[in-house]
């Protein structure tokens, strides 16, 4: 059975994982490089720490794999009890943590969340962004028009259609679009407002609050097709991008390895997430499936927010790129999540 386990292992996911960690190590080395050789296993510098955390993670791999899947199932209540207080972090004014929890909508969606709530959420986000860009009056008018059109279409197809949800929806949209400015100005903190303003192009500032995103774009843009080469990134060497070995590691990859490197990382993540999603669906029991969806969801949110942030598509939120960014606990946690997923996946048929 143990021999079989090796064969039943999701090799592709494991290979993608190893590739991403190696890409991470190479680029963390590059950000810390300054004309002198850095010893890989020296704990004094980031690359050394990351390397040792990787080694520890790999040592945990067989341990995690040999644990019986039931163990996690049974233990889940205990873990829930212990870790429930962690949820309180959401009360902290920290966008990153909130987003991570929000990411669990993958699971909810799979396990029966009403799609309408999902669409409502999407709609609210759209209204929020459009109201920041345009006048609330126009946004309201557009919303009303859209809702009326969809009401018309649905009414044509179905005989009996209730008007109430549509009227409620219309009221909600108008109310929300007029309250956006209040939320934005009174509830958000200045740093959040700045981040939105920069992303939406409402303010241009490349020296103060827009410095990060501008330097990040310069680093990525100057990489070109094949990049400047390993250890040759001028933006990286000059330390122009802050937090480059952690949250902004993607800029180093893009600068030194060019479009080839950056698109590879995007494709690797997409492949891993899709693979997890597809494999998760094959579970017959809820727990491993929900777990796998949760894992994919975590990966997705980190991937989307982090890369989106460096590309200037998403407001700045300080969360790492899984497996790649420097950070021992992050690497260890994501590795464990992956290994548990692998365990569930390998033991699916047993």
């Amino acid at each position: 059975m143990n021999n079989n386990l090796i064969f039943r292992l999701d090799g592709i996911s494991l290979i993608i994982y190893l590739a991403l960690v190696c890409i991470g190590l190479i680029n963390i080395y590059s950000t810390g490089y300054s004309e002198e050789l850095i010893v890989l296993w020296n704990l004094e510098n980031p690359i050394g720490k990351q390397f040792w955390f990787f080694v520890v993670s790999l040592c945990l791999l067989p341990l995690v794999l040999f644990i019986k899947p039931n163990f996690f199932d049974h233990l889940s209540y205990l873990i829930l009890f212990i870790s429930l207080p962690i949820v309180l972090i959401i009360l902290q004014p920290d966008a990153g943590s909130a987003l991570v929890f929000l990411g669990l909508f993958f699971v909810l969606l799979r396990e029966g969340l009403d799609l309408r709530i999902f669409y409502l959420g999407l709609g609210m986000i759209s209204i929020f962004i459009f109201t920041l860009l345009f006048d609330p009056l126009w946004v309201s008018i557009c919303c009303l028009a859209l809702i009326l059109i969809s009401y018309g279409i649905i009414k044509n197809n179905q005989q009996r259609t209730s008007k109430t949800p549509f009227i409620t929806l219309m009221g909600l949209c108008v109310l929300f679009s007029y309250s956006v400015n209040f939320i934005f100005n009174s509830i958000f903190e200045q740093r959040h407002r700045d981040r939105f303003n920069i992303i939406l192009g409402l303010e241009t500032d490349t020296r103060g609050i827009g410095y990060n995103i501008n330097q990040s774009k310069i680093a990525i843009g100057s990489g070109g097709f094949s990049g400047k080469g390993f250890l040759n990134g001028t933006q990286t060497k000059g330390g122009f991008v802050p937090q480059q070995h952690t949250d902004y590691i993607f800029t180093t990859i893009s600068e030194e390895w060019g479009f080839l490197g950056s698109s590879s990382v995007v494709l690797l993540f997409t492949a891993l997430i899709c693979r997890v999603l597809i494999r998760a669906e094959r579970h017959s029991t809820t727990f491993p499936r929900a777990y796998s969806y949760g894992f994919a969801s975590m990966l997705f949110v980190h991937f989307f927010v982090n890369i989106g942030m460096t590309l200037g598509l998403v407001p700045t939120v300080g969360i790492p790129l899984p497996f790649v960014s420097y950070g021992g606990s992050s690497l260890l946690a994501f590795s464990l999540m992956l290994f548990i997923y692998l365990n569930f996946d390998a033991n699916r048929l047993s």
Binding site: R110, F118, G223, G238, V266, F304, L311
Partner: protein
């Protein structure tokens, strides 16, 4: 299943969004590469060291030496012992404070100069204490080092470019050195070379953190060219010594090549005083000396009446125009009446009968006045004769710029018929009106280098080569740049004149210039001169002039010596010229007594006379 597709499509959609964004950023936009270069790469010029300057025998005259600018970056600076710093560099505390304030106003992050051009000895003392002064450091620069401190007038000087020059020529950077005068200016491009560039990686604080790509993109500077002058350093040094405490100039030319062997102007200055921290002070002192004018090159820029040496040219023109022959005899009775009631004095005895040969070595005024009259009267009218006479002189290089390779000069003046038509009235003048030109005292003006040049033309028996100050190794280029300029006077006419000039030294006015074993040909001059003193035309002591070449056959050196207010040509100019010739041809001077007299002789008393405000006597 639809839910699974929703999730997958969200993932794939995000990936697609990112790929599109990456494509536009990395593949379509090119502006980011440029921004990144400006951001992180610093291009710094590398200057080749300025070319060296040698004399004709390969002796190094001008080299380079390091000096150090004391720089400060205000941001990195902290409180320090100002007293010690000012004492070490011997400058005042106020000055230091002004400079520090300026530096702060300019930029807190960028370096500013606090003290310019600190000599290496001073720097050595401060360097070991520099740790006490955070934010201060030395920046090396090279400036000129005059190994043999001579010929400041020929070499010129260098100084930092000013903002105006940078606007005109963008290849200069602030702080770079540029040639200001003389050889340094004329040959700026050769001496400067072409600067290269080094690329450096900067960090986000604009600090250099290393070379970019191990210097693969660096461009090496094109090294500068060295220049070999035609000057003979020994002769130049000797000439400068002979001229000390006098005013005037010496120009020595090698007749066969037109190469200038020495160009001395007096008073002069030591070129090393225009280097280093005291440069500005010294330069304004030179500039403000409007009495002795040390920056005025008397060899090139001073226009004097040529005096008696000019008679030689009139003799040659007379011969060529058939106004006289070598056997023509004119009488002189202590002078002659050149017009009714107008008498020109001469030192010949009553009843002297001079032929051309005698006319030259006795320097007979009457002889050349009569020759000059015949030149003008021989033509259809005086105007035509005058213009023909002028054209001969122009072909001797007079009345216009010579075109040598130094940036300064004067035309001198040769009057023509248009000039006299304007001064008098058309047709209202004739030979007697302008008779002073016959003896080089009239409207004619020449510079010492022009006189040396026509002396060389006489030495060559009919042609001259444009005087120049640098030697060219390329024979083709040299011949095309410096062709023979024919004077238009047949070489046969020169023999009598040259014999006459030889006789001047043998038995004539310049016997003091005789050198044992060398046949010297020369002609003295004693030139009346006037200045305006308190609004009145005042005559000063005559200028002492001598032109000469030697040896008589196959001449090696042609020389003009001009000593302001030295009285007789034979008193100062002839001995100095003679010593120069002896030094150049024999390598050493036998006549120690004459050498001492010239070296130690001073005319300062003479120059002080018009400034004293008291009545004074001249020609003593």
């Amino acid at each position: 299943m639809i839910r699974k597709i929703v999730l997958l499509s969200i993932t794939l959609g995000s990936a697609l969004l990112f790929l599109v964004r990456l494509t536009t950023l990395q593949l379509l936009d090119t502006e980011y590469s440029e921004i990144s270069l400006n951001n992180a790469i610093e291009k710094r010029p590398i200057y080749p060291t300025r070319g060296l300057i040698y004399d004709r025998n390969g002796a190094l005259i001008v080299a380079n030496q390091p000096v150090y600018d004391l720089m400060v970056i205000p941001e990195n600076s902290a409180a320090f012992d100002t007293l010690e710093l000012t004492q070490l560099l011997s400058f005042s505390k106020d000055e230091l404070e002004i400079q520090l304030k300026k530096a702060k106003q300019y930029s807190r992050k960028l370096p500013s100069v606090i003290v310019r051009q600190v000599a290496k000895e001073e720097r050595a003392v401060l360097q070991e204490k520099l740790w006490k002064y955070p934010g201060f450091y030395f920046q090396k620069k090279t400036v000129r080092d005059y190994v043999i401190p001579i010929a400041a007038n020929v070499l010129g000087y260098t100084s930092e470019v000013n903002p105006n020059e940078i606007r005109l020529n963008e290849s200069y950077d602030l702080g770079e050195m540029i040639g200001r005068q003389g050889i340094e200016k004329t040959y700026e491009n050769q001496l400067r070379g072409e600067k290269g560039y080094a690329y450096y990686q900067k960090d986000r604080f604009n600090r250099i953190i290393g070379s970019y790509e191990n210097g693969d993109f660096d461009q090496k500077p094109k090294s500068s060219d060295d220049i070999t002058l035609t000057l003979d350093a020994t002769l130049q040094l000797y000439g400068e010594a002979l001229m000390q405490n006098k005013r005037g100039g010496i120009v020595a030319i090698e007749p066969s090549t037109g190469e200038v062997l020495a160009l001395v102007t007096a008073p002069n200055y030591n070129p090393n005083i225009l280097v280093g921290r005291t440069r500005t002070k010294n330069f304004s002192a030179l500039l403000q000396d409007t009495v002795a004018k040390p920056l005025f090159d008397r060899g090139l820029q001073a226009e004097y009446s040529p005096g008696s040496p000019f008679k030689v040219l009139n003799a040659l023109i007379g011969l060529q125009e058939n106004a006289i022959t070598e056997n023509t005899v004119f009488s002189c009775n202590q002078g002659h009446y050149y017009a009714r009631g107008a008498f020109m004095k001469c030192h010949c005895a009553m009843g002297t009968q001079n032929n051309l040969f005698e006319g030259i070595y006795k320097s007979c005024n009457s002889y050349f006045s009569k020759t000059y009259s015949r030149i003008l009267d021989g033509a259809e009218n005086s105007a035509e004769g005058m213009d023909r006479w002028k054209s001969y002189l122009n072909r001797f290089g007079l009345g216009n710029y010579l075109g040598y390779d130094l940036p300064i000069g004067k035309k001198g003046f040769i009057p023509g018929s248009t000039y006299y038509d304007r001064v008098y009235r058309k047709g209202a003048w004739s030979a007697p009106t302008v008779i002073s030109n016959a003896i080089g005292q009239g409207e004619v003006l020449t510079t010492p280098i022009q006189m040396a040049n026509f002396t060389a033309a006489i030495a060559n028996r009919g042609y001259y080569i444009k005087p120049h100050f640098t030697r060219l190794n390329n024979v083709m280029l040299r011949d095309s740049l410096y062709p023979k300029n024919e004077t238009g006077i047949d070489s046969k006419h020169f023999e009598t004149v040259v014999d006459g000039m030889h006789q001047v030294v043998e038995v004539g006015t310049a016997r003091i210039a005789k050198i044992k074993g060398i046949e010297v040909c020369g002609k003295t001059g004693t030139v009346e001169n006037f200045i305006r003193l308190d609004g009145e035309k005042t005559q000063l002591t005559d200028h002492s002039i001598f032109i000469a070449f030697a040896p008589k056959e196959n001449p090696k050196i042609a020389i003009t010596v001009f000593v302001e207010n030295g009285y007789w040509g034979s008193r100062w100019a002839a001995p100095i010229a003679s010593l120069m010739i002896e030094k150049y041809l024999n390598g050493e001077v036998q006549r120690g007594w004459l050498e001492d007299r010239m070296l130690n002789g001073s005319l300062q008393e003479e120059y002080d006379k018009p400034l004293s405000g008291k009545p004074f006597a001249i020609n003593e």
